[in-house]
């Protein structure tokens, strides 16, 4: 306890990460009925957390990784250790989470104003912030897993925030269960490691993996299993469909959890034990393939939907796919960097969309556009900035990170991954600007009648809202994020320098030049040397032009005067349907669940319980009673039958003893 107060770093860590928990407890227990107080408590605590995070980052910017740990309990030979691991990666992530969570909570002051579940909302926001921050700085995989689950829990509650809406609770459930599917793999992987290696400490694990401390088979198996967790949490193929559904939650939630931070946890976890993963080329190959498939699939899905948030959700999935690809290709920094920038611009995109949605009470981009979405100047500007960043247009942050990823992909021996990356970039730009153009240039111009714009008289409350607290609570965070998206890219080199310190030093790897480790060493050194690719400029041009191509197609179809506004895909209804129905993944799951689980096993088991087991037991009872009835015939009223029984048995006994 004393150490807690003596060590400012530890103090800041503990305070920063756990304050939201207390704010949640206080809100749930005491201030449920006082929304304003609740929101203040929550925002205040997250602000403190964010400040702690930033100060930690500043303080430890050039310090070596710090580790705090304490034995939580032990069972047999199993030691469960809790602790913090403060290295550049976790500090960076902590800061991202802190800042974005803080911004989103401030934004929510406006967005959620007047909601009956206001207090509850902030309680769950705090829960999320607490879990996420603890997950980020977890020192061991088990701790990471625990908070990983807690994050999922917060996500469940926040997705199902409007629980009166059936689809919302359904989406929450879906998210939780799908995550669970992945998590079981994760969990099994951890158990395997625990059994085979005995320690889940992250630095130890990484170190052991690259220095031949764990057998190759175990690494591959457990890495693949752990990767299941990534698949679930980061909505990779084939578990990607929960994320679009998760948009049922309030928009700030989508911004925070389902794009910027929580879903990135998968990628974060991947990068956390990147050296471990990279010790298994097989696992990396699988991850690469899955990342690519995810990216393409979700991009195609985004191309056909008209729902604002859905577009960004698909886009999130596809960007996560990018990051996974990058990691799997060895681009450690590229992925982390993309994660960072993506957190910024995707939160921006969501928050801007949130303003539209709040304003027009619809998610449909066509209606928003028609009703004058573009008249909301601040969000319109910001969303465009976000879209540009997403499309990888210079000088926005996305440009830098995407370029980094493409470079890494290019370094792969098989160029198909690079091609996929480029193709993805085209699609990304296309669907982003399809949305932007829908908002900017609605099909039949702006309908003045139902105009809800800024200067429209008659909707007094909105008037007040736009100018008042509600509007600015939403607008300021958006503007901050827009600013970040503009400038973040220029910090690439500083960040790279900072982040790469959290990887084991290449020289050390070189010393253990064992065949199994080559891959890891290769991957790591590749990541380190990426920047010095010889034909960097060519790649840059290719990347940017892919983005511009997408924008151009979108312009052609939606932006220009007299554009068809139909999209080329509408000429192929089958493909449209395929994309619209998410490649039939949902239908597949639904059918599978219905036939296999509900109609199959469940009804089988229930029937088995009723008929066979219960039936058997009742049958035994009926049989017993029946035999009672049967035997009661022995006791007939006829005296002599009774006597015969008696004499016969006596006689038989006599006979038995005689013979």
């Amino acid at each position: 306890m004393g150490a807690l107060f003596r060590d400012p770093v530890l103090f800041a860590t503990v305070l920063g990460t756990n304050l939201p928990f207390f704010s949640m407890a206080v809100i749930l227990l005491f201030t449920r009925s006082k929304p304003t107080v609740s929101s203040r408590i929550s925002v205040g605590s997250i602000a403190v957390s964010a400040i702690c995070a930033i100060s930690l980052l500043a303080r430890l910017f050039s310090a070596p990784p710090l580790q705090y740990q304490t034995l939580w309990f032990c069972s047999g030979k199993l030691n469960i250790v809790f602790g913090y691991y403060l290295d550049p990666l976790s500090l960076l992530m902590l800061t991202i989470v802190g800042i974005i969570a803080c911004l989103v909570q401030i934004y929510s002051l406006g967005y959620m104003a007047g909601d009956p579940g206001y207090s509850r909302y902030y309680a769950f926001q705090s829960l999320f912030a607490w879990a996420m921050m603890n997950m980020v700085i977890a020192g061991s995989m088990l701790q990471l897993f625990i908070f990983w689950e807690m994050v999922g829990l917060a996500s469940y509650f926040l997705i199902g925030f409007y629980y009166e809406k059936w689809s919302a609770s359904q989406a929450g459930k879906k998210a939780f269960v799908m995550n669970r599917v992945g998590d079981v793999g994760f969990f099994l992987g951890l158990i395997l490691l625990l059994i085979g290696f005995g320690n889940l400490d992250i630095p130890t694990l990484n170190h052991a993996a690259v220095s031949h401390g764990i057998s190759q088979g175990l690494i591959t198996t457990s890495a693949l299993l752990i990767f299941c967790g990534v698949i679930g949490k980061s909505a990779q193929f084939p578990l990607l469909t929960w994320l679009p559904d998760a948009m049922e939650g309030p928009t700030p939630v989508s911004a925070l959890l389902h794009s910027a931070t929580m879903v990135a946890a998968g990628v974060y976890m991947f990068s956390r034990i990147f050296p471990f993963f990279s010790a298994s080329p097989q696992a990396m190959a699988v991850a690469l393939a899955i990342g690519a498939v995810t990216m393409i699939l979700s991009s195609t899905m985004a191309m056909v939907t008209y729902d604002l948030k859905q577009v960004w959700a698909y886009s999130t999935v596809s960007q996560l796919g990018y990051m996974v690809m990058a990691l799997a290709a060895g681009g450690y920094f590229a992925a982390v960097f993309h994660l960072t920038t993506h957190a910024g611009f995707k939160a921006l995109l969501f928050l801007c969309s949130g303003i539209f949605i709040h304003e027009f009470h619809t998610n449909d981009m066509r209606i928003i556009g028609k009703q004058g979405g573009r008249k909301l100047k601040i969000p319109m500007t910001c969303i465009t900035i976000g879209a540009l960043a997403l499309s990888g247009v210079f000088p926005f942050s996305g440009f830098f990170s995407k370029e980094a990823i493409l470079t890494v992909l290019y370094a792969q021996p098989n160029k198909i991954w690079y091609a996929a990356g480029l193709f993805g970039a085209v699609l990304t730009a296309y669907y982003s600007f399809r949305l932007i153009f829908h908002l900017l240039f609605p099909k039949d111009g702006i309908e003045e009648k139902h105009h809800h714009g800024e200067h429209e008289a008659g909707s007094h409350e909105h008037e007040e809202g736009h100018q008042g607290f509600v509007f600015w609570a939403m607008a300021i965070p958006v503007m901050i994020l827009a600013g970040v998206s503009v400038v973040l890219g220029f910090f690439e080199h500083g960040l790279e320098h900072f982040i790469m310190r959290s990887l084991p030093i290449p020289e050390e790897l070189a010393r253990h030049a064992v065949p199994g480790v080559h891959a890891a060493a290769h991957a790591l050194s590749e990541g380190a040397q990426r920047v010095h690719e010889p034909n960097g400029s060519l790649l840059t041009i290719l990347g940017v032009s892919a983005g511009l191509l997408g924008i151009a197609v979108a312009w052609f179809e939606y932006g220009r005067q007299g554009a068809s506004r139909k999209g080329f895909l509408s000429y192929f209804p089958a493909i449209w349907k395929l994309f619209d129905l998410r490649w039939f993944l949902d239908i597949f799951y639904r059918k599978g669940l219905d036939t296999l689980v509900y109609a199959g096993l469940t009804s089988l088991f229930v029937r088995n319980d009723r008929r066979i087991i219960d039936g058997g037991i009742d049958g035994i009872c009926i049989f017993t009673e029946g035999s009672g009835r049967l035997f009661s015939f022995l006791q007939s009223g006829m005296l002599q039958f009774n006597l015969v029984l008696m004499v016969l048995v006596a006689g038989a006994a006599v006979l038995y003893f005689v013979i």
């Binding site: 009872c621 017993t624 009673e625 035999s627 009672g628 009835r629 035997f631 009661s632 022995l634 006791q635 009223g637 005296l639 009774n642 006597l643 029984l645 008696m646 004499v647 016969l648 048995v649 006596a650 006994a653 006599v654 038995y656 003893f657 005689v658």
Partner: protein, 473 residues
Amino acid sequence: MTDFMLFLPELFFILGALLFFVFSLRKTPNPAGYHRWAAVVAAAGLLVTVASSHQQGMLFFNCYRVDLFSQIFKVLLGLGTIWVIFSSGELKGIDPRQHAEYYFLIFVCTLAMMMLVSSVELLTIYVSMELSSYSLYLLVPMRRGDDRFSESGIKYFMIGVTASGLMLFGISLLFGVGHTTFVPQLVKTLPSLISQPAAIVGLVLVLAGFFFKLALFPFHVWAPDVYQGAANQVTTYIATVSKMAAAAMIIRFAGLSGGASPGMIKLLIVLSIASMTFGNLVALIQKDIKRLLAYSSIAHAGYLLIGILTLNTQGFASAIYYAAAYLVMNYSVFMVIMKVADDGHNLQIKELAGLYKRSPLLAMTFMLGLFGLAGIPPTAGFTGKFLVFAAAVDKGYLFLAIIGMVNATISLYYYLIVFKAAYLLKPVKEYPAIHVDMWTRFMSISLVIMTIYLGLFPQQVVSLTEAAARTLF
């Protein structure tokens, strides 16, 4: 004079019998007065029996042995008798003009059974047994009123005399091979002769006579009809007191083979299993509570036999314990039945409905009695079963314990049905509250305490029964 002291309990009951013989000659019956007298005499008899419970000695030219074994059973008999007499306050099932004879026969029967448990000579045993049987043959048809039940008397009689015929035949065979009618001598000679068919058959047939008394399958055939057909008090007497004597005699005679005959043990095992199973199964479908208890008593005879068929001290001790426990529990149940059916009619299970409201105390006594019979701890019935099964398993009869326990589970069903009636069911019509006087209250509480005390603190009783069982060897 010590001999006189040894015979004191019996003398006391003879006195009682004679007293009521005199009463029976009077012109005008006085049932209430008879009841008081009977209670006083029986209570005094019980006191005397308890006081002489540690006597030892031989009487009547070695025909009659007074030892711990016999005295324990005499105490049980005396206890049962005073209980039955206690409950005879409202003897509505029997014509008031016959009450004097009723008490006379009860006393004679108890006396006969006391002599039975002390007798160690075959003829004495047989005659005592017949005396008790005749008293019961006469008690059963005393039930007045309902013609439905009149046949039970003749059934009891016919089955009884047949069984006694078998027993007499058996005695003759024992006499033939053993050349003597004295049990102590037979104990010495019989084990070596047991390979002779006559010896074992004689023994089995003698046992058959006692099995009849105990209502063991297949000699149980009288029990359901008689339980149902006799007056409630008489049923109680048959169900409690007369079982004690039968148990004592089976213990005495089963030991005669000295464990030398595996065939007999097999037979006993078969009978015990058959009895448990049959009794419990048929009890499942009964509606009349006395008839149900008849079947339950058949099953209990089976449990009791498990203890006996181990043929060792431990087993006999457990059987004695079981018998004592059975007396207490069975009487608890019957007392409540008699109290509820105080007009002497045959109680149907559904008539118990709402008992918990009519008299919580009786309901509790009833519940404990039922759970005791079902063998649920912490009642005496459980400890009895435990001891019996322990003896059996110790001897290697694990399967008997399993079968016994499965049977106990089956039996639980019908006990629970009765329990349910008493505690759960809403009565179909409004029954009046039961008048529970001070004595009944006292009796209920003491029965409850006894049931639980015997169940939880068996040490003293167990050591007593073990000492008693040791006197048999």
